[in-house]
């Protein structure tokens, strides 16, 4: 059994053509061809049988563009990855892939990738050799181990075996400090769901619902698992067609696809949820609520709810009656609804509604207990960053792994200043971003298409899923050490026990072997489904059934798992239990100096800003406004008229903690008391990102969610001050109107059970 992944995969020399620009003139029909005798054609040395020049090979791996961890099939031609597609075997994305996933290629081949380590010498980051960098890294680590209290490790959501090693590193050093930070954290949702249902992540079965009511949860966008929920949505709309109602202060992508979109006054979603609960509870005697809750709900009568939420009583009644008649339904909360001081209460209210409507165990089911407990992804939080910034003055050494907090944190945390005081900041990054720029040592990373790894997706319809990641091509910078290998080397320095694994590949493989018996088809209630045939079927995995009849179990199990790109184990599903809780929400007191609520919304594209340096995504029109390469502030035309500004006018958006200048975009799909600015722009680094737009997160005020201490992302109040400047916005759409050409035709239907005649889409 060989543990050497390079030998095993045999990524061989490329059959390709080299040579620089040749400019030839073909006169009519001469015999002179183009590159004959000039171009070189290299032969392989000793390739795997399935590597054929001119033919593609597909490898299964895992997407790292957002925490959803979709399964991938990577198309490799002549030793280079050309295209990413979804892995049809993955229950997350069923072979589909979003724009961000597609653009993973651009991250892999990014011209800004750091070719060699950088170290701060004479207060300037300068290229050093890998040997020098490693020596320095080991020295820093040795010092950190002497004084563990003064060491911390910050990372984004990592998951899988890398997570395990990171935990091990922090534990071995002995410090208390592992911080997991994710700007678009789902911590509030997870924590409130845990307290309501006893599990952090139930399965949300959109396709089973007749109606979905979503409070700000942009599930078709970057809420939790975009491709998964979009696939569910496709089925939700077909068998028979379900209806979608979205309630939010600013229209999200999900809102843009709703049958009915309701603009609600920002920061008041919880009132509506509890108002609906009150209406439903008072009429539905079947599900009895504890008296304490009924009494608490009494104050959310329809008239006061209408007043607070700025929704007509008629709309609220219509909502309640739709919920009553269309069951099962599914109530979701997220985005601007849970990024509030009362965010947990909002999520709890959504569960209360689901409870009252009898949706538990119908559209919301238990996703099984994860058999991969120690590999589970630790959910990132923004509170972690807050804690880190408090801890920073006491730190000597800080490791930052694949996270860019200097860009994504609000100014009030003063992270950059704090970082400069830390003696040794080591940043592990693939490009020189805002955080890496302040580092004392920058360790360049391999791309996720160049290294081994594993991941337990945070949201999975079935928790028995482990996504596997494998290198699909030879590293572009072969000297770059894979993250897992580097962590193992660091751990070995501290604890010789880690020597038993020659590399990270061996570590992952050995560890996964313990699931081998569970994965046997005859041990499973539902026999293992072989991965769907790849298109075209190039790499045929060993059939597991056959494999178990041989005596090479380890090899067969491993080959199968790698070829499938995932490991799925049987889980036990239980029925859900919920203890309704007494809601306690407090009204937001509005400061009249700051009359608007700022909504810094993420898009399916630049996401939290990590993709701003990918040109495909910069040039991809925003789904709502169709604007490209820019930032803008959406306000309702009524607001614009009141402020005497119009689209293209530059305004200053000021909070108590800073201000930014941004162009106005008049848009009907926003509540007049809200101003929405997309996240992701305003970088100072990156050839495609630097100097484009502004970062609205910078001016957030220190407002935190009450129960979890998370940053309340959508709770900052701002004022809009016109300037006299103007600029144009570049967008795809020339017109909002179809000018009677009937390009997009809509039929309005009355019956709730309209089904597509051709049946299921899948």
């Amino acid at each position: 059994m060989s543990f050497d992944p390079v030998n095993r995969r045999t990524f061989l020399k490329l059959m390709g053509v080299s040579g620089s620009g040749l400019f030839l003139t073909l006169q009519g029909c001469g015999n002179a061809s183009l590159e004959e005798g000039r171009e070189t054609v290299m032969s392989y040395i000793d390739p795997e049988d399935f590597v054929i020049p001119g033919e593609e090979v597909w490898y299964a791996t895992t997407c790292h563009q957002c925490p959803a961890a979709c399964g991938l099939h990577a198309r490799v031609r002549e030793g280079r990855v050309r295209k990413l597609e979804g892995n049809p075997a993955s229950p997350i994305n069923h072979g589909r892939l979003c724009a961000m996933g597609q653009a993973g290629l651009q991250l892999h081949y990014h011209p800004d990738r750091i070719p060699q380590p950088l170290a701060r010498i004479d207060n300037r980051l300068q290229p050093v050799s890998w040997d020098q960098a490693k020596t320095r890294l080991h020295k820093i680590l040795a010092k950190a181990a002497e004084n563990p209290q003064r060491f911390a490790l910050l990372s984004g959501e990592v998951g899988g075996h890398l997570e395990k090693l990171m935990d091990a590193l922090v534990q071995t050093i002995g410090g208390p400090s592992r911080y997991v930070y994710e700007p678009l954290s789902q911590k509030i949702w997870h924590s409130a769901t845990q307290s309501a249902l006893g599990i952090t992540s139930p399965r949300l079965q959109l396709a089973q619902a007749q109606m979905v009511l979503s409070f700000g949860a942009d599930f078709l966008g970057p809420w939790q698992s975009a491709v998964h929920f979009a696939a569910e949505y496709g089925r939700f709309r077909t068998e028979p067609r379900g209806s979608l109602i979205q309630v939010e202060p600013r229209m999200s992508l999900t809102g843009a696809n709703a049958d009915w979109w309701l603009p609600i006054r920002p920061q008041t979603e919880a009132w509506l949820a509890l108002g609906l609960a009150h209406l439903l509870a008072s009429e539905n005697k079947a599900i009895a609520l504890p008296d304490a809750i009924s009494q608490a709900l009494a104050q959310y009568d329809i008239d006061s709810v209408s007043k607070i939420t700025d929704l007509p009583t008629d709309s609220i009644r219509r909502l309640a009656s739709a919920l009553r008649t269309r069951t099962p339904s599914l109530i979701l909360a997220g985005g601007p609804a849970d990024g509030q001081v009362d965010g947990s209460q909002m999520v709890l209210a959504s569960w209360l509604l689901n409870y009252l409507l009898g949706n538990l165990d119908k559209t919301i089911t238990h996703a099984g207990d994860s058999p991969f407990a120690e590999l589970e992804t630790r959910i990132g939080s923004t509170a972690a960053l807050q804690k880190l910034s408090e801890h920073m003055p006491a730190l000597d050494t800080l490791f930052i792994y694949q996270s860019n907090p200097v860009y994504s944190a609000p100014d009030f945390l003063q992270l950059a200043a704090g970082l400069e005081k830390v003696r040794n900041t080591v940043v592990f990054a693939s490009t020189l971003d805002e955080t890496a720029e302040l580092a004392d040592l920058v360790i360049p990373l391999r791309s996720s298409l160049e290294e081994w790894g594993s991941r337990v997706p945070a949201y999975s319809p079935d928790q028995g899923l482990l996504q596997l990641q494998q290198p699909v091509m030879q590293a572009l910078y072969p000297q770059h050490v894979a993250s897992g290998d580097l962590l193992l080397q660091l751990l070995t320095q501290l604890d010789k026990a880690y020597q038993q694994w020659p590399d990270f590949y061996a570590y992952v493989r050995t560890d996964l072997m313990k699931y081998r018996e569970q994965a046997r088809p005859d041990k499973q209630p539902n026999p293992w489904k072989l991965p769907a045939v790849m298109t075209p079927p190039t790499y045929k995995p060993v059939m597991l059934e056959q494999a178990f009849s041989t005596d090479q179990l380890d090899e067969a199990f491993w080959e199968h798992t790698v070829a499938a790109g995932l490991l799925q184990l049987p889980t036990q599903q239980r029925s859900l239990r919920m203890q309704p809780q007494v809601p306690t929400i407090k009204p937001v007191t509005a400061d009249q100096n700051f009359p608007f609520t700022l909504i810094p919304f993420p898009q399916l594209g630049l996401y939290d800003g990590r993709h701003a340096n990918l040109s495909w995504l910069q040039e991809m029109p925003d789904q709502i406004t169709t604007i490209v390469w820019d930032s803008w502030a959406e306000i309702h035309p009524e607001t614009a008229a009141r402020l005497k500004v119009k689209t293209g006018d530059i305004v200053e958006i000021r909070s108590t903690h800073g201000s930014i200048k941004v162009k106005i975009f008049e848009f009907n799909g926003i509540h007049p008391e809200a101003v929405a600015i997309p996240m992701g722009q305003g970088h100072s680094r990156g050839r495609y990102a630097a100097g484009v737009g502004v970062n609205p997160v910078k001016i957030l005020a220190p407002v935190f969610e009450r129960d979890t201490g998370e940053l309340a992302l959508y709770a900052t109040r701002v004022q809009i001050n016109p300037t006299r400047e103007q600029d144009s916005l570049v967008k795809l759409a020339g017109s909002d109107s179809q000018h009677k050409r009937r390009l997009v035709r809509t039929i309005n239907i009355k019956a709730p059970d309209f089904s597509h005649p051709e049946g299921s889409a899948s």
């Binding site: 979003c98 724009a99 653009a103 081949y109 709309r237 009907n668 035709r745 809509t746 597509h756």
Partner: protein
């Protein structure tokens, strides 16, 4: 169109053939598509997939602003603006109206007869082909296209692939330089490959064997693609269920569940792409 055919039938070629022309009689394939606007969510996955598959350049903000974006497939987005008897409301209560727009592969393509060098022509598979090395950049085709889905290389965009980004380029398709018109090909490189694989096994391409890049990526599976010459293919069945055929007119629609239509049908371009109407529930 074969070269020989093209030369012999030049006059007819310029007129654009009749539907059901004998030109296609022997063809085993006629590629067609269905896009369900009720499940299309306007997420742009198809757009980016097309960039990756077809070596599309990124043109930058300034050029994009001049309408030079090279997106072979684009998501058009409209709002209810109160025209045509629609309700004009304070808020867009029924959301946005999305439509993915790419070359409609018209049977009676307005772009074909105007090409002075026959760089664009109709293949026997029903594709509206563009032969890049034949194109002289007159742009007549683009001007004559009612869907505005032909894209001209006004510049050389090689800077899009700053090294090592060029290593991502799909080797199955050319990178077009300045002066050449380009457009959606229904991923002809994938069709070519599928036909080749099928021929090796002495059979025709099976339904579902080949997917276009946009269809492949679509998270909601709003796009269905296949062979209309095969009556059992999924795309054929959908065309039939929605009472769609070449030569179909809007008046032929008989029931509300027949949601199929073709964009700008009144121009008689006979597109090979049909759309299914978007549905909104008014009963809430």
């Amino acid at each position: 169109m074969t070269i020989k055919n093209m030369i012999e039938n030049w006059a007819q070629f310029r007129k654009s053939g009749q539907v059901g022309d004998e030109y296609y009689d022997h063809a085993d394939y006629r590629w067609g598509m269905v896009i369900d606007l009720d499940t299309c969510i306007g997420c742009n996955a198809c757009v980016t997939a097309c960039y990756a598959e077809n070596n599309l350049p990124v043109v930058g903000k300034e050029r994009f602003g001049r309408g030079l974006g090279m997106h072979w497939i684009r998501i058009e987005r409209y709002w209810q603006t109160g025209e045509e008897g629609e309700k004009k409301t304070r808020y867009p209560e029924q959301g946005a109206q999305y439509i993915p727009m790419m070359c409609q592969q018209c049977e009676q393509a307005p772009c074909e007869p105007v090409c002075p060098v026959a760089a664009t022509y109709h293949t026997p598979d029903g594709l509206n082909a563009q032969v890049y090395n034949r194109c002289i950049g007159s742009r007549y085709c683009s001007n004559n296209c009612p869907y505005k889905v032909r894209y001209f290389n006004f510049y050389s965009y090689s800077e899009t692939w700053a090294s090592p980004l060029e290593q991502q380029l799909n080797p199955d398709i050319s990178v077009r330089d300045k002066g050449v018109m380009e457009k959606c090909t229904f991923c002809v490189q994938r069709l070519r490959r599928a036909k080749n694989d099928a021929k090796n096994e002495n059979r025709l391409v099976e339904d579902g064997e080949v997917q276009t890049a946009c269809q492949q990526s679509c998270p909601t599976q709003a796009i269905v693609f296949g062979n209309l010459a095969d009556a059992d293919s999924r795309v054929s069945r959908m065309w039939k269920k929605h009472n769609m055929a070449y030569g179909h007119r809007e008046d032929d629609k008989q029931q509300k569940t027949e949601r199929g239509y073709r964009v700008l049908e009144e121009l008689n371009t006979e597109p090979s792409v049909i759309y299914l109407e978007r549905i909104r529930d008014e009963n809430i």
